[in-house]
């Protein structure tokens, strides 16, 4: 049960003189929801870019299912089973929902140097795409171009595309960003659903959401981890209350 899915060892990223991520060591176990929170500029997004290969760390190591993936390209990491959703909606606007997911699903073919048979005729690809659409709750929108959908639906599709790549592990960058109350709840439900199968890393600003779903909480400030551990322990730790949650609560209740 407690198999380690992802582990970072002293992961560090410097941009010139700025240390964006400072010797971060994390562990994500199977079926865990590991939330990373922190104020803007804490290095959460950089962290995600490091994990998924979009950035190459200055120092440190990333192990994915025990395999060293430090410095690998995003496409290779994706093929190892890490699925990444983006903070800014990153769907293909002129594609329909189904086409979006199919393009994602098609990436699991050995290659896409297939020039003649129509993409629709690849049964497995389409089936996987349909399944992902169903999971993210967009089956009824399959033929709608992504550009014509609401922001919330695009966020759902964003996750649907990740699912269509048949991942073993999800890295979600602020999936609730810019969502209304009801949309957030739908998405949260989806995340719970996904959590039955997948371990996931969740970077999120919506504290209520984080507290309701996370197993492990890591708090980052200025690139460094100031606290990390089981949700309740971290939530109640003084340092965190002080450094981060206090302010956030104060703002939210104001």
């Amino acid at each position: 049960m407690s198999r380690t899915v992802l582990e970072t060892r002293d992961l560090t990223m410097r941009f010139g003189g700025l240390v964006a991520v400072d010797r971060v060591s994390l562990q994500v176990e199977a079926r865990q929801v590991h939330a990373i929170i922190g104020p803007n500029g804490a290095g959460k997004s950089t962290m995600i870019n490091l994990l998924t290969g979009a950035l190459r760390p200055t120092a440190g190591q990333i192990l994915f299912y025990g395999r060293d993936i430090t410095g690998m390209s995003p496409n290779r990491i994706s093929h190892l089973g890490m699925g990444r959703s983006f903070q800014r909606t990153n769907v293909f606007p002129s594609f329909t929902c189904l086409e979006n997911c199919r393009l994602a699903s098609q990436s699991r073919l050995k290659n896409s140097f297939r020039f003649f048979r129509p993409a629709e005729s690849y049964r497995q690809v389409t089936e996987r795409a349909e399944r992902a659409l169903e999971l993210c709750g967009l089956s009824h929108r399959r033929h709608t171009p992504a550009a014509a959908m609401s922001h919330g639906e695009q966020r759902q599709l964003e996750i649907g595309m990740v699912l269509a790549t048949d991942p073993r592990f999800l890295v979600l960058d602020e999936p609730m960003a810019g969502m209304g109350q009801r949309e957030s709840e739908t998405l949260l439900e989806l995340l719970r659903e996904l959590n039955r199968e997948y371990a996931l890393i969740l970077v999120e600003h919506d504290m209520d959401a984080v507290f309701s779903i996370a197993d492990v909480l890591t708090v980052m400030v200025n690139g460094a981890v100031i606290a990390s551990g089981p949700l309740d322990a971290v939530r109640n730790s003084e340092a965190v209350q002080h450094a981060y949650l206090g302010e956030a609560d104060a703002v939210e209740e104001a």
Binding site: F86, S112, R114
Partner: protein
């Protein structure tokens, strides 16, 4: 983008039939000038293939290349260089050779430029195509700026039996037409296939494609080589038609003209650039008949086009076809633009054809 509205498909079919029948009606309309326009139309169709190949790069894959003429010209030079001075070359030798040379040139230039983006990519393609230009221009071996004539067009025969006579104008006209249609259909098929989807994905969002597990470099390089080879095929036929090649076939100006054809016709629609090629050449021809300074009105048209008609002719047609109600159960085609009644425009979402 994948499915062309029926009304446009019918229009394209009609235009193709009209073009194919030119030998029937041409003489009646143009009299003495029949032969001249036959040649002109052949050239236009070959340039349309060039524009089509460029649309595959710019409109489908999102790579703004200004090197397309380089591959066009390389194939042309290959043909002329391999043709003996006093005999016809064997088409089964020179055609593959020309295509291979064009593909090789595309592969080498592609490998160098593929990692660059945006403005950098544009400049690098222009510069490398200009390198080939100077190679042909400066080396006396290639005939320099005067170019080289080809006194015999290639022979198309199997086992001593002549299949086609390339010296015949009408034959060349039909070869160009069949090639244009075939390449258009081939690209449409590829667009629907997984490969085409990946290229479209790369155009819309390369970072996302990477995150989904694709390595865009391979696909971009493949697109570059495919487009270069098709341009080479156009260049081969163009040189057969012209029986002459000079460095202008490799020049970046020709690449830029092809780009204008693509935009004038409608970026990324494949059928648009074909129409664009005809429109551009027609303008070019029309203006140069009126004035020695044809570049002036042409330049003005290009600027106005960018500012006022960014979606090109295809954009106009697509808007127009949205006004024509599509009668779905009715098998009879809704013919003509007269059917544009005062109904509100229908925005049809693209429906997937399920197998």
């Amino acid at each position: 983008m994948l499915d062309i509205p029926k009304s446009i498909r019918i229009l394209l079919l009609l235009l193709t039939v009209l073009l194919a029948c030119y030998p029937l009606w041409g003489e009646f309309f143009f009299g003495d000038r029949y032969e001249y326009y036959l040649q002109k139309l052949t050239f236009m169709m070959l340039l349309a293939i060039l524009a089509l190949s460029l649309d595959w790069l710019v409109g489908i894959t999102g790579m703004v290349s200004i090197a397309q003429a380089a591959f066009f010209g390389v194939a042309g030079y290959t043909l002329v260089m391999l043709t003996p001075e006093f005999a016809a070359a064997n088409v089964w030798v020179v055609l593959p050779a020309a295509l291979v040379m064009a593909a090789l040139a595309a592969l080498v230039i592609g490998l160098l430029v593929i990692r660059t983006h945006g403005i950098f990519f544009i400049m690098a393609t222009i510069a490398f195509s200009q390198m080939l230009y100077y190679l042909f221009h400066d080396a006396p071996f290639f005939g320099g700026s005067d170019g080289i004539y080809m006194f015999f067009r290639p022979e198309v025969s199997i086992g001593g039996v002549q299949l086609l006579n390339l010296e015949d104008r009408q034959t060349r006209f039909f070869i160009a037409l069949v090639s244009l249609v075939a390449i258009y259909l081939l690209l449409r098929v590829m667009l629907r296939a997984p490969f085409g989807r990946v290229l479209r994905g790369i155009k819309e969002n390369e970072t996302r494609m990477r995150a989904l597990g694709y390595n865009p470099l391979f696909y971009k390089l493949a697109a570059f080589v495919i487009a270069g080879t098709i341009a080479g095929y156009a260049g081969f036929l163009y040189t057969v038609q012209d029986a002459f090649v000079d460095p202008s076939a490799v020049s970046w100006t020709l690449s830029a003209h092809a780009l204008v054809m693509v935009i004038l016709g409608g970026l990324g629609t494949l059928f648009g650039p074909v129409l664009g090629a005809f429109a551009f050449e027609w303008l070019h021809y029309g203006f140069s008949n009126v004035t020695r300074h044809w570049e002036l009105p042409l330049g003005i048209v290009v600027i106005l086009m960018v500012l006022l008609l960014p979606r090109g002719i295809a954009g106009l047609l697509l808007d127009l076809s949205n006004r024509i109600p599509e009668r779905k159960p009715d098998p009879a085609p809704a013919q003509g633009k007269g059917a544009a009644e005062a109904k509100p425009p229908i925005r049809e979402t693209t429906k997937e054809a399920r197998p």
